[in-house]
């Protein structure tokens, strides 16, 4: 069994695997715990790869993604999570944002 974490053609995303998180709560937590520099690095790299990732992932049924494809899927969701931090706030958190513990996702995915 190979230890391959991502589909072979997306091996360049391996340094960002800690962004492969299954739930919104985790993705928001990672965004808020990261520096803007780290977010920007992930954003820059992932933005350039996300269209290729979608083309790859759309070949699978959404509910039966193989583990390495699922990680790629979760990386793509994390890009959506951090996009506003880069494009709108230039800050990890929402400027004048709300305590995320009191603005909680329910039935978290």
């Amino acid at each position: 069994m190979s230890a391959q974490k991502l589909p072979a053609e997306f091996a360049d995303l391996e340094p960002f695997l800690d962004w492969a998180l299954a739930t919104e709560r985790e993705r928001t937590g990672k965004r808020l715990a990261s520096s803007l520099e780290d977010i920007q690095a992930f954003y820059d790299h992932m933005s350039a790869r996300v269209e290729a990732a979608m083309a790859y992932l759309n070949a699978f049924p959404l509910d039966t993604l193989p583990p390495e494809a699922e990680r790629l899927f979760h990386l793509s969701l994390s890009l959506m999570e951090v996009a506003n931090a880069v494009e709108m706030f230039q800050n990890p958190a929402v400027i004048n944002g709300f305590d995320v513990k009191r603005f909680a996702p329910v039935e978290d995915v």
Binding site: E51, L62, S76, M80, A83, N84, E107
Partner: protein, 392 residues
């Protein structure tokens, strides 16, 4: 070039609503909160959820309505019917169901002494029944609550005899939304916001677009952007008996950030959903505490609902639900995630402001509030509140 639209159109359309300042006191006073408890929340139809939350016989949702001092149980019977009951055991008054959502195999059993009820609310089992004295078991079912469904939205009415049916209560809103295909969309995200603000402050702050270019200058700077010295104008405002809707169209030349453009490409779907929209964005206030938001999405229409549940005069449980057509592939799901993250971050800006407004008004520094014509629907909401406060 934008068409220049006349000012003060809505006051002209609805002159009876008036144009004067509105009292601030009802937004912060305990006295009005108690009036709302007795004269509004116990006398109007309240939205509890949607039928998709209880798809199968035996599925139920339970909700504590702090404002009504009641706990409500909505259950789908084995016959498929949706029924509402007080979530209270007939034996000693214990709360029957303690979780907010669940399913049963035809029987709900009280945790205190195991009195059991079927999905029609009938009492079916009492342990050690022979040791009771003339127990009128047939009369000891769960106490029913008037429950009606409109387009999949489940509403309850706590009065013994509601003065009108749900359909009558919704009136013009129902005319507009009937046959809307809401059931084709599914809950994609839900947020519960624990706000330290009055429920009406939260609702009022959502019930207009005047604030968009200012409060949301970072998130959606191109929405309702001011150009050529002209402020944007709503497409339509309609006032119904108790309720209202305002509609708008976004600027045609809006570009949006890079990831939004990507997300729009991912989101392309084969199947379209079309809701009965008036503009690109419609905001219904369904009195007293519900809002329904219809959007023209990038691939298909989608909608959101808000339920503002008062917990105390200065505390609100803002329940936000976002409904999309279920994603058929990863691209659509990722595209939806972009838009839900955008809405969430933007609503965070609002939630923060709701609390600051409450602090401001609670100081009683300001006795009256001035609404402009584009805030007509808020003025109307307060007119409806006044009507209910004044009831016997």
């Amino acid at each position: 070039m934008r068409t220049v639209i006349a000012d003060k159109r809505w006051a002209e359309k609805y002159p009876e609503i008036g144009t004067g300042p509105v009292a601030a006191e009802p937004l912060i006073s305990q006295e009005h909160f108690e009036l709302e408890r007795e004269k509004i929340f116990r006398r109007t139809w309240l939205n509890i959820g949607r039928v998709e939350e209880i798809p199968n016989p035996g599925d139920y949702i339970a909700k504590d309505l702090t404002m009504c001092r009641a706990s409500v149980l909505i259950i789908r019977g084995r016959d498929g019917e949706v029924r509402g009951f007080h979530n209270v055991c007939s034996h000693r008054g214990n709360k029957l169901v303690w979780d907010e959502k669940g399913t049963c195999k035809g029987t709900l059993t009280c945790g205190f002494h195991a009195w059991a009820y079927n999905t029609k609310g009938e009492l079916t089992w009492v342990p050690d029944e022979d040791n009771f004295f003339d127990l009128p078991k047939c009369d000891l079912g769960l106490t029913p609550i008037h429950t009606e469904v409109f387009e999949g939205f489940i509403f309850i009415h706590l009065a013994e005899r509601p003065p009108e049916s749900l359909r009558e209560y919704l009136g013009g809103v129902a005319d507009q939304l009937e046959g809307g295909g809401f059931g084709e969309l599914a809950l994609a995200k839900r947020y519960r916001v624990d706000e330290h603000a009055n429920w009406k402050i939260a609702l009022d702050a959502q019930n207009e677009l005047y604030h968009l270019p200012f409060q949301h200058r970072r998130t959606i700077p191109e929405f309702c952007v001011l150009k050529d010295g002209q402020f944007t104008r709503l497409l339509d405002v309609r006032l119904f008996n108790h309720h209202s809707v305002y509609s708008s169209d976004p600027p045609e030349d809006r570009v949006g950030p890079a990831t939004e453009k990507l997300a729009a490409r991912f989101s392309v779907a084969e199947t379209e959903s079309r809701l009965p929209r008036i503009g690109s964005f419609d905001f219904y206030t369904i009195f007293p505490n519900m809002a329904l938001l219809l959007f023209r999405g990038v691939s298909h229409d989608f909608y959101m609902s808000y339920n503002f549940w008062p917990q105390a005069v200065d505390r609100t449980d803002w329940d936000i639900k976002i409904y999309f057509r279920p994603a058929e592939n990863a691209g659509q799901r990722v595209g939806q995630e972009y838009f839900t993250c955008l809405l969430r971050d933007l609503l965070q800006e609002d939630a923060t402001a709701h609390e600051q407004i409450h602090i401001g008004l609670a100081s009683r520094a300001k006795k009256e509030l001035y609404f402009q014509d584009e805030e007509m629907q808020i003025r109307y909401f307060h007119t409806v509140l006044d009507r209910f406060y004044a009831e016997a």
